[in-house]
């Protein structure tokens, strides 16, 4: 058990990478300016036209209403968190207002303020999507993350990164694929996909002796997207991979995954 294995060597480099990531994260957080410091005149202003507008103490349904803005007053919008808006009244009272009430206000030019509700159409129209998925890759566990950019309501391009964690070997896989969603307006929306990438596998040293391999892969697949709530969707898919090995025969691997994704 104590003999060195082929997977020992990357540990140090991984540890360095890890601390590198930590530093990057710290640098990122340090560089973020406090939002309250933004110039006052830069905030968007809307006028209340309904009899009243309710201000909550926090960005959520359960937070109590502590202040009511009367008709005719204007409010400044300081920031948005999910579908809640932090607003400031002329008297300086700061609180949170939900999107439904914000949609009933007017812009300075007299037009209705549109704080887009997250309808299914908005989901279809949004461009960027990020998702986490997990499942089975030819008997091994798989954890995946993807980013997608939609070219039009039907067609999008996805970039995938996956880690494969099996009983006999570990590895990672990267793929680029095209997704065609035939009926994007359906709440349960089927899709078809095909793409290509590379897979890297390293056999577990304690069980099998062998070299690390990097092979090209091609895949086709199909799945279902379920638009759950607001910017959130559930996704399940099947993909069939062909691994173009350097041996005589190509290897075929089946993959089943479930997960979730969200839109920007």
């Amino acid at each position: 058990m104590s003999e060195p294995s082929t997977t020992t060597t990357p540990t140090t480099s991984l540890s360095n990478t890890f601390w590198g990531l930590c530093l990057v994260a710290l640098a990122l957080t340090a560089g973020i300016p406090a939002p309250a410091e933004a110039a006052d005149d830069e905030f968007r202003t809307v006028a209340v036209v309904e009899p009243f507008l309710e201000m909550h103490t926090g960005p959520g349904r359960g937070y109590p209403i502590f202040h009511v803005v009367d008709r005719g007053e204007s409010i400044e919008i300081l920031m948005q968190r999910t579908w809640w808006y932090q607003v400031r009244t002329a008297k300086g009272v700061v609180g949170w207002v939900d999107e439904k009430q914000m949609n009933l206000t007017l812009n300075p030019d007299g037009t209705g303020a549109n704080f887009s509700p997250a309808s299914l159409q908005d989901l279809i129209d949004s461009k960027w999507e990020v998702g986490f998925m997990a499942g089975d890759f030819g008997g091994a566990n798989m954890v995946s993350m993807y980013g997608a950019y939609s070219l039009n309501p039907n067609l999008s391009i996805e970039v995938w990164g996956s880690q494969i964690l099996g009983d006999f070997s570990n590895g990672w896989m990267g793929n680029v694929n095209v997704v065609h969603e035939t009926w994007p307006e359906w709440r349960f929306s089927p899709f078809f996909t095909m793409g290509a990438g590379i897979v890297h596998t390293s056999p577990k040293s304690t069980i099998i002796s062998g070299d690390d391999r990097t092979d090209e892969v091609g895949h086709v697949g199909a799945g279902l997207r379920i638009y759950a709530t607001q910017r959130f969707l559930l996704r399940a898919e099947y993909k069939s991979y062909v691994v173009f090995t350097s041996r005589d025969d190509n290897e075929e691997i089946e993959e089943w995954k479930v997960g979730f994704a969200f839109f920007f």
Binding site: M1, S2, P4, S5, T7, T8, T11, T12, L14, S15, F18, W19, L21, C22, A25, L26, T29, I32, A34, P35, A36, A38, F43, R44, T57, G58, P59, G60, R61, G62, Y63, I77, M79, Q80, R81, T82, W83, W84, Y85, Q86, N107, D109, V130, F132, A134, N141, V143, M145, Q163, L165, N170, K204, S205, T206, T229, Q230, R231, F232, F260, F262
Partner: protein
Amino acid sequence: MESRIRVLFLIAAFIGLSGCAATKNLFGIGPKEAPPPASEPPGQVIDPAVERREVKEPKIDREDFEAGGFAGIMSVEDFGTNVVYGVRIAYHITEGFFVEATAGQTEAGLTSFEVLSGGAPIISEDERTLTYYNLNLGYNLLPGEGFIGEGRAYNTAFYLVAGLGSTRFAGDDRFTVNFGGGYRFLFTDSIAFHVDFRDHLFDIDVLGEDKTAHNLEGHVGVTVFF
């Protein structure tokens, strides 16, 4: 004189009536004039010298991302308890749901077998560094407020998280399930303090039997919304 007054009255009456004629539809009095037929373009009657006011709406600052670091203690089953450090990035999808990616690192100690036998270590020193990452889904189960004294209220939330990831430990990458809960305390609308408890489960066989190890972690952290 008389005729001059008459002229003045006539002028006043003319101006007043034309004014009424121009504004009669403002109050909905009088018959509505039919719009000119669409096929015939209306002649340029008035030159609109006033340009339409272009209102440029300032962009609303959207703060759905949360990033930061944490430190605490992590117990690696059979290998003792040690300090753990890590980073976290989260994205709030709705007021309830958020997704989160975390990465952390700790050093595992000696097993009691290694200590008692005094023999050769089971795993090498490098392999004792435990590094993990997780992709999680979280839910703000109990949002609320915390009060300090009489005049201060802070938004808080107790949340649950669960997810999947990988742990590199004892010379292998191990498929890891993790779940737990935490408490978020917002000092300001953009800076939050966290207390978190997690259980990381993975299969391990370095001590002779194949078993699922529970590795408990407790940490405190600070995040910034942006």
